[in-house]
Structure formats: C-alpha cells, structure tokens
C-alpha cells in the first residue's frame, strides 16, 4: 500500500493542479494577513473559507483522480497487489497531497508573519487539523461516489450535489426545522444534526476553540452548554474520526466486490 501511496502522491505532486491549489492558499494567506493585519482575525476569516472550499476541492479532486487513473488502476489490479492496498494507497495519495498543499500554502505566510510568537498559534493549528480532516472525509466520500458510478458525468454530478448539500442546503434545512419546531426542546436534535454533517461539525469545533460566542450560533451554544469547551472538542474530534473511518471502510468493502 505504501508503494501505491508514494506513487500516487508523487504523481499528484507533479501535476499542475496541486500547484494551483497551493498557490491559491498561499495567495489567500498573504492577502488575508495583509488586509486584516491581525493573526486571530485572519484565522476567523480563513475558517469561513476553508470550511466551504476544502470539502469542494477534496470532492472534485477525489472524483477526478479516480476517473483519470482508471486504466492505470486496471494495470495495478493485474499485479500481485491486494485490492484494498491499491484503493487505500490512491485515496491516501490524493488526500495527503491535498493536505500538504493546504498546510504549506497557508502555513508559509502565517509563519513568516510571526505565527509562532503569537497567541493564535493553537487556533491556527486547529484550523489546519480541521482542514486535513475535511480533506480526508471528502476525498473518501468522493472515492465512494466514483467507485459506485461507472458514468463519469453522473459521478461528478453526485459529488457536486453532495458538497452542495452538506455545505449549503443542510444548514438551510436545519434552520428551517429549528424554526418549525421552535416550541419543542431542540437541544438534542440540533446536537445530533451538527454531528451528522462534517462541515457543521468542523465549524462548531473551531468556534468552540476560538471561544467567540457571538459566532457560535444556536447549535454551537447548545454544544458548548452540553459538553463544555474541552469535552466538546474531544467529542467533535471523535465524530470527525468516525466520519473518516466510515467512508474509508466502504472504499475497502466496495473495492473488494467491484468488477473492472
């Protein structure tokens, strides 16, 4: 598996898109620091961007990479390598190269700005960790979609829909339910609703850490009240890990049964 991972990783590291992605974050980091002139404020703005953009890029890259390397995958399948190693290797190759673009692209401008001397260093690290989690989750979801759909157009369509649903529509639906059932106690429901969406979960996680009550919103407030800050962090990390494990498990399962 490590060999496949290495090859996928270096294959991607050499592709133009990794550089575009890296350059984008680099630019974003520099501009935000330039405009905000304040590390903590830049971190908050960055959060809003990362939480929407990282899943989108993870989904698209994941689907694209899978479909692009289909013939090569067939070549690998005829080699004495276990199926699970091939797909896990490719998945990790994509996810890690995306994570690296993210970490380096944002890390470099922040480090030069004096991240390590500032108090925002932990907030910033948490932001990057969440970004890596989101990359792992959404690349895995994308691989799942691609494995289940032979048709590329359909695969891309479902992938974009999934992102749209979790990043935008889910919140709308969630809010509507809260308004519709405002006469009932909704703490449990909203807690549950947050955990079922990795994007919401990440947002809550970061806001809990940043301790900005104004931005926490209803769910965040419930989260904080229910779990307290540190336990809330642990619970959200745990849930994010579950969100990684489940789709990765399905990649392994599905790949074992699929015909090529």
């Amino acid at each position: 598996m490590l060999k496949i991972l290495r090859y996928s990783f270096f294959d991607l590291m050499r592709s133009r898109w990794s550089y575009v992605y890296f350059a984008f974050y680099l630019l974003l980091g520099v501009i935000l620091l330039f405009l905000n002139n304040d590390l903590s404020k830049a971190v908050i703005t960055l959060m809003n961007v990362i939480i929407v953009l990282v899943p989108l890029i993870g989904t698209i890259f994941g689907v694209m990479y899978y479909y692009n390397s289909q013939e090569f995958t067939e070549l690998l399948l005829a080699q004495p390598i276990k199926r699970a190693s091939i797909f896990l290797g490719q998945y990790l190759g994509v996810a890690l190269s995306l994570s690296m673009s993210l970490i380096l692209g944002l890390g470099i401008p922040f480090v030069f700005y004096g991240l390590f001397e500032s108090s925002a260093v932990w907030d910033f690290s948490l932001l990057l960790i969440t970004g890596v989690f989101l990359t792992l989750i959404f690349t895995a979801l994308a691989f799942n979609i691609a494995l289940s759909n032979e048709n590329k157009i359909k695969g891309f369509g479902y992938a974009i829909l999934l992102w749209l649903f979790l990043a935008v529509i889910y919140d709308g639906l969630f809010l509507m339910t809260l308004i519709l059932f405002e006469d009932y106690p909704l703490d449990k429901l909203s807690l549950f609703g947050t955990m079922l969406n990795p994007i919401d979960l990440s947002r809550t996680l970061i806001l809990l850490k940043l301790d900005i009550s104004a931005l926490l919103g209803y769910t965040g407030a419930v989260f904080k009240q229910f779990f307290g800050t540190s336990f809330g962090l642990i619970v959200s990390f745990f849930m994010l890990t579950v969100w990684v494990i489940l789709p990765v498990g399905r990649i392994i399962n599905k790949s074992k049964k699929k015909d090529f």
């Binding site: 060999k3 496949i4 090859y7 294959d11 050499r14 592709s15 390397s69 013939e71 090569f72 067939e74 070549l75 690998l76 399948l77 005829a78 080699q79 004495p80 390598i81 276990k82 199926r83 049964k257 699929k258 015909d259 090529f260």
Partner: protein
Amino acid sequence: MVTIQNLHKKFGRNQVLSGLNLTINEGGIFAILGPNGSGKTTLIKAVLGMVIPDKGEITVLGEEIKKNSDYRHKIDYLPQIANFPSNLKVKELIKMIKDLRKPTDEDQRLIELLRLEPFLDKKLGNLSGGTKQKVNLVLTFMFNSPLIILDEPTTGLDPISLIRLKELIKVAKAKGKTILITSHIMSFVEEISDEIVFILEGKIYFKGSIQELKTKTNQQDFEHAIASILTNNHA
C-alpha cells in the same frame, strides 16, 4: 495450468458467461476467439481476479484464486488499452512496476528489441498509441512468469514491432510457458496459436487445433471456418 469450472457472470441483466468450463494445460499458445461481446475479456479478467464471478471456481497453477492476490506473481498480463498515468515518464513507469513486482533485467533487452530508447525520458501522455503498446509489451514480457495473458496484443503495432512480438511469443513458448491470446486478426491467430478456444454465448463452443476446426466446419481456410461458426449460429 488453468482450470475453470462452471463459471457464471452477469453484468446487470446481461448474462456474459453461463456455465463456462475450460482446462488449459501447461505449455503452448492458446487463442481465445469469439464474436464481439462473447465474453473473451470477461473470461480473462475473471482469471486475473479483476472480474468477480457470480458462480464457479477458477484455479491457476493449483491455487484457488478467490480472495488471493499472490497467484498473480505467476501471471504476466497485457491489457487491451494501454493508458498509463500521463505524468510519469516511460522509465519511471517501468521502474515502478518492477518495484511493485520484483527486480528484473529483462527490460533492457526488450527496450532495445522494440527500439524504445528514444522514448524513455518522455512522459507517457505524449506517446502515440503504438509506442504506448510497446511500453505495455515491455511491462508484460519482462517478468518471465509461467502464464502470459495477452489481450489484443497487436493493437497499434507497426509491421516490424509485430514481427518482434511474434518472436517474443515464440521464445516464450519455447521456454515452456503457457500463453493465452485474444485477437481479432485471424492471420495472426492462425500463424501463432497451437490451439483455439472459441467462446459463443458465454460457453466454450469449440476447443482444439486449427486443423480440427477446419474439419469440423468443412472449410478450407481458417477465416472461413470461424465465419461459418458465426453464420450457422446466428442465422
């Protein structure tokens, strides 16, 4: 060498293989023929473990292939469409496959034989179809495994490379290897194969030498013999 028992495979509603039985003995060149969509590639992919059968058993060199990947150490496979990662160089791809399987020096000889030296530093995305097929051939023949499976090996090859390919196949045969070939070029099949396996509607319709096929169908030449099977079964 390879035994297949009662193999069934369905893609959606399309029953491709229905109770196929086949035994391939050690040594010799076997051509797998059949009309388009008769299940040739599916059969080959089932042997390679790329297609998972609905029913049936396959053993390769005495090893049951279900949930096994090690037996593929003994198979060299040439896929139908050679499409490699376009960012890799030819050299790197060869190195990578060697790294994944086992070290070998055969690649140097094959690269010379197929005149691939000028392309070694080119990226695979920039190669023509025929050159890609040559790279594909190097990857297949460099390992010296006892079973060789070639799916449409002649695709895109120029006449000289075609001659070289035939030589490679003959040398492999002389070493006592078993070679399975699918091809649509009947003259190629006639020239090279010892035995024909004809698949029709998901089953083996005929297995035997070309001479036997001619006698069975009452035809003078091979191409007409094949055509007569098809017309008699579809008319």
